[in-house]
Symmetry: C2
Subunit: 695 residues, 2 copies
């Protein structure tokens, strides 16, 4: 349904082009004739520019309601050409202020006018971030899908070199009709080569979907703003779990690439051996994102102009206090009272404390802002006092941070602190693990390709991304980038579950995957392996009273952790309303792990993995209302609703095992509603295949 | 005189725009209809692009002679989008090959066709470099002035951020007539701030004229190519002297900024404390020039793709051998024979050996390529083995190297080696210093400003640089950058010289300037001070037989070391032939130190300097033919001719003093044809003044 309300999305189109230049395929123009509406730098040039605009194309005119223009002075303290970072307190406050304005608008029309007024006045990245958060959270724009950030700021995802080449081509050769010279090919290995061990993970770190996921997760879970936006059910726990899963996934990929688990950035004053040269051009700042040479060190930060003055000692102090709190199983809140870190709520408290959310932290002044400040400190290590007038590295922004190897070292450190807490918990009792009367009898995995059972296949494929919405000042010729990414052959699970209960009952199917052997080639201890289990799917099942087994089938593409592939309804709507091509699979942004990254890469010779399946009791699991779909909820929660699974996130692998459990098999043996199946992931080496949409 | 031959200069205009797009104000087009003329990437798009070109503007069509197209395969081994460095042996060889083709063309018409054919096929920087060298050295293009490199590649001189902003403005706002929104202001302090001590010298290092000088010097004195181009009179010595003077000038500026002399980069394996973040965008590579973080180290280099594989040990070995040669006062040539490092020719041999010129080095295999390889090694310290696929830093190119503080540390090291040789020479005898019968009686310096005698005044001023020729793919709207630079109030010398010879005779007036006190605030020893003397002027004088004194007047703007200011004849020609504005003072490039940098900055409270004047005997000094003007010869030599001064470059300060000389005054006392005058340089602080052409 093309709603008029999609017009607000055109404010995201080509964010540095003035608002009065028609936008998109439909040449949408905003009626900007109100007095004082235009930003000062545009007031005297608009008329002349408009004379130049060809009038032959269809134009959609969007009226703007006359309102009292909001006071943007605080928001404008972040300069137009500065890279914006939500991790920086001063930037965060500016975004909060703008978000308040957007959320406070009395109607959609007021919201539209406010946003249109702010657009050419405030920092473009801040604008896109804040408008996105507002569109997601306002009730009157519910259901309007956002265009993917690749479409707004392709420079955050695509090799700057190739992007410049693309613009040049568009400039000179715009007259050659059609996309004959396109797409622009983005080489697979543009940031490093095989001399750098970390390079082997570039396909993961620089995957467009992975980075879109991280950006979008942080749009849904802002850590700053008003209570009604920030204070979502179990958000602190989800911060822990989503990032824990990223580290688990990263470590699986490392094993596939003959690398050991990522090393925590534990000693903050030591050299960081991993260098990173992102080669991304930051168009709003007209410079490339800062690089980090190998063996750089972080330093105390004195960036007064960013409002960021801060010592490594602060990070160390906060960590000490947080670990202290974990070991005493309590934090001290602002009033000096003890708040227990309980079995169920403790992790949520810690998530908000460590991330940190200034609003939700039990005591921001004492426990500080460990995770966020770490991001900024690392992103400024090349110029901690601003003497070289350099901007941040990619670690400073959610849409780019996951490209950098140090992201994983930092989050392995953050995760280690969370695990210290999990280590204080008691093992799950049999009661908590069992689903009496239910037993998993058989697990089989089958791919669409003609290979044996329980073999998964991965390969590299090419895919295209539309760049048009973000190529400011360039005609609307179709301009696409072709990138190369990991993909797998779709597969299905067939799981036989016996039900001895003599009644139909409901269960929750939990499917996890982990490597069988560690980096030494040895069979993993359960204590290690439980941290490497990645969630593949979670869904509800109805079990008839058949003791010989219910045969449950499930497609990999329906996974609850991933963003869906394919040409769905909102995608068609997109093709009408947004200047993107209609068969772009990522034409809409949304939370969720990218489908192409569902399983690790494996190896050409085959990597031994273990698929774990558990059916738990839906009576215990499900949270009211019980009939909601699980869609993407594991990593992203459910909009306007409680997290649908009552169990601890990561259950049953989030706690230490009981003493008799040494290996996974010992654990599975505890309860018949759990089972394990060995699978092999084979990576099919060779030139990238061209992508076909799979529905 | 607008010669047809200036048409070849249009090949330098907008080097990445295809040749068939009309160039410049006169819309010059080249007749490219020959079969196979166009580069493959342009063959099928030309027609369509041409349809788009507005036909209302006047077009000058330049015919191209049909020739046998040259074989460019070796030249094309340097990729189109790679930063080109003459310091790299593989790039040097490609440039040599192209230069051979250009120099070998039988006529101007053949040369033009060759160049037009090569233009869109070879690396654009390599093309501009090689075509420039060829235009300077071919007899049929003698006298054609080159447009300044700022006009061809403004990105090598102007903050990338501002340049991008300028292009953006040109893009959207091209329709606003006239230069109302221009010039683009380039902030004074865009690469660093006062927290960085080295920042105080940014006005020197990043001065456009200083960098143009360095670029142009290396065009005139290529170290590679055919003998007739490379083997110029005393080129090795001039390499030493021009760079020695840069270091002396830099040290004077450092004193003015309360910094000590630049520290030689003696210990090659130590951290380089000076970081540099050039913030220049390299348009042909579509990326910014690489930065160097503070405290980086150089490493052994393994850049196979550049043909540059090489160890620090090699540099150390070469230095050891060179110092060995200096101390034994001989080098060993390719045949194993000793070649003495004599008083007069030794320095020239060493210059070619150390730079090194593979052609002129007495033994390239043994003494290596110390200076050039040092440049490359430093420029690659952030990515010595190419694992991060990064290009060079600014040290890799002659037009950008002087921006980086490490340039001076490296050249202080190179200069120190030359000084080791100079230290082995005997002091000048009285015979060599004296001009019997001639005595300097009085020196006075007067500025145009109303201040006391012997006071020089400096200030900051704004100046504009035309960017148009280099802004590929943008309409020919006037687009200028306004930069801020050091300037001084023009001044004149009045020197009274007595002649007791009872005849009219000729002399050579040599004027040098040096600080009186060192960085400790102590009066300098002659041994130190002699290395800090900067040459201000050198000119011939005729001395009548007046024992009471000839009064000799001389204007600072006529200095023999500087490039002339102002609107001269060739500048008017430029305004006809090249798309630049006619009152650009740097509208033509040429060798010579920039006039605005003639004297050091001084300090607001006044820096005590000493002006040294010497009149030497023209009978000894002048080299046949004796009637040549001295114009710019001190740092640049004379085209197609011998260096006009027979004395050692830097005379009389290039040798150790005799034992009785402790201070400058002791030295001056040796011979009455030398004299010294204290002067004070006052820097007038305040907002930059706007520049007026001074004639």
């Amino acid at each position: 349904m093309v709603s008029d309300k999609t017009h607000i999305l055109y404010l995201l189109c080509r964010p540095t082009e003035p608002i009065f230049i028609p936008k998109g395929r439909y040449r949408v123009t905003f009626d900007v004739d109100h007095k004082d509406f235009l930003a000062p730098q545009h007031q005297d040039v608009r008329k002349k520019v408009m004379e130049r605009i060809e009038s032959e194309v269809e134009q959609v005119s969007v009226p703007l309601k006359k309102i009292e223009w909001p006071d943007l002075s605080e928001v404008m303290e972040v300069g137009r050409h500065q890279p914006f970072s939500i991790f920086l307190p001063s930037h965060r406050r500016a975004a909060e202020r703008l978000l308040d304005i957007f959320m406070g608008a009395a109607s959609y029309e007021d919201f539209l006018s406010c946003a249109a007024y702010a657009r050419d006045r405030v920092n473009p990245t801040l604008f896109v971030y804040t408008l996105s958060v507002a569109v997601i959270h306002r009730s009157d724009t519910k259901g309007i899908d956002l265009p993917p950030l690749t479409n707004i700021f392709p420079d955050k995802f695509i090799d700057g070199d190739q992007l410049a080449r693309a613009k040049e081509i568009a400039d000179v050769l715009a007259v050659t009709e059609g996309p004959r010279r396109f797409p622009v090919l983005i080489p697979r290995d543009y940031t490093s080569n095989g001399l750098d061990d970390e390079h082997r993970l570039a396909y993961f770190r620089e995957d467009i979907g992975v980075n879109l996921h991280h950006w979008h997760w942080h749009l849904i879970y802002p850590f700053a703003g008003k209570m009604e936006i920030v204070n979502k059910d179990r958000r602190g726990e989800l911060f822990y779990y989503m990032h824990q899963q990223i580290i688990a996934r990263y470590n699986c990929e490392r094993f596939c690439n003959h690398l050991g688990r990522v090393v925590r950035l534990l000693e903050l004053r030591k050299e960081i051996s991993e260098g990173y040269f992102p080669k991304l051009y930051c168009s709003i700042a007209s410079k490339t994102w800062a690089s980090r040479s190998a063996n750089s060190k972080i330093s105390d930060v004195r960036r007064e102009e960013m409002g960021f003055v801060f010592d490594i000692e602060d990070l160390e102090r906060w960590k000490t206090r947080i670990v202290e709190a974990i070991h005493w199983k309590r934090v001290i809140d602002k009033d000096g009272s003890s708040v227990a870190l309980t079995e169920n709520e403790g992790i949520d408290i810690l998530g908000n404390l460590i991330e940190a959310s200034p609003l939700l932290s039990k005591n921001y002044d004492i426990y500080g802002d460990l995770h966020n400040f770490g991001h900024v400190t690392i992103s400024l290590c090349h110029d901690p006092d601003g003497r070289y007038k350099e901007g941040m590295g990619v670690m400073g922004e959610t849409s780019t941070a996951m490209r950098d190897p140090v992201f994983y070292r930092w989050h392995a450190y953050i995760d280690y602190i969370f695990q210290l807490h999990k280590d204080t918990l008691k093992p799950y009792t049999l009661e908590e693990l069992k689903y009496e009367g239910i037993h998993v009898e058989e697990i089989r995995v089958q791919t669409d390709a003609p290979v044996r059972e329980n073999i998964l296949k991965t390969f590299m494929e090419t895919t295209t991304t539309d760049l048009q919405g973000g190529l400011d000042f360039i005609g609307y010729t179709p301009l696409k980038a072709q990138t190369i990414r990991l993909q797998h052959v779709p597969f299905s699970y067939t799981i036989k579950v016996g039900n001895n209960l003599n009644k139909i009952c409901k269960g929750t199917m939990r499917i996890f995957l982990s490597p069988k052997f560690d980096e030494k080639g040895e069979k993993m201890l359960f204590l290690d392996q439980k941290r490497l289990f990645i969630e593949l799917d979670k869904f509800s099942v109805t079990l008839t009273n058949d003791p010989l087994g219910n045969k449950i089938s499930r497609q990999s593409r329906d996974s609850n952790v991933t963003r869906k592939l394919g040409r769905n309804f909102s995608l068609l709507e997109c093709s009408l309303a947004w200047p993107c091509s209609e068969n772009e699979e990522d034409a809409f942004c949304g939370c969720g792990w990218p489908q192409n990254m569902l399983i690790p890469k494996g190896t050409p010779e085959g990597s031994p993995y273990q698929l774990f399946v558990m059916v738990s009791d839906a009576e215990i699991d499900l949270v009211q209302p019980r009939d909601r779909p699980w869609d993407r909820s594991s990593y992203c929660g459910v909009r306007d609703s409680k997290y649908p699974d009552s169990r601890a996130m990561g259950y049953p692998f989030d706690r230490p095992p009981s003493s008799e459990v040494k290996y996974l098999e010992d654990f599975v043996r505890l309860a018949p509603n759990m089972a394990v199946q060995d699978v092999t992931i084979i990576f099919e080496d060779g030139p990238p295949k061209s992508h076909k949409l799979d529905d």
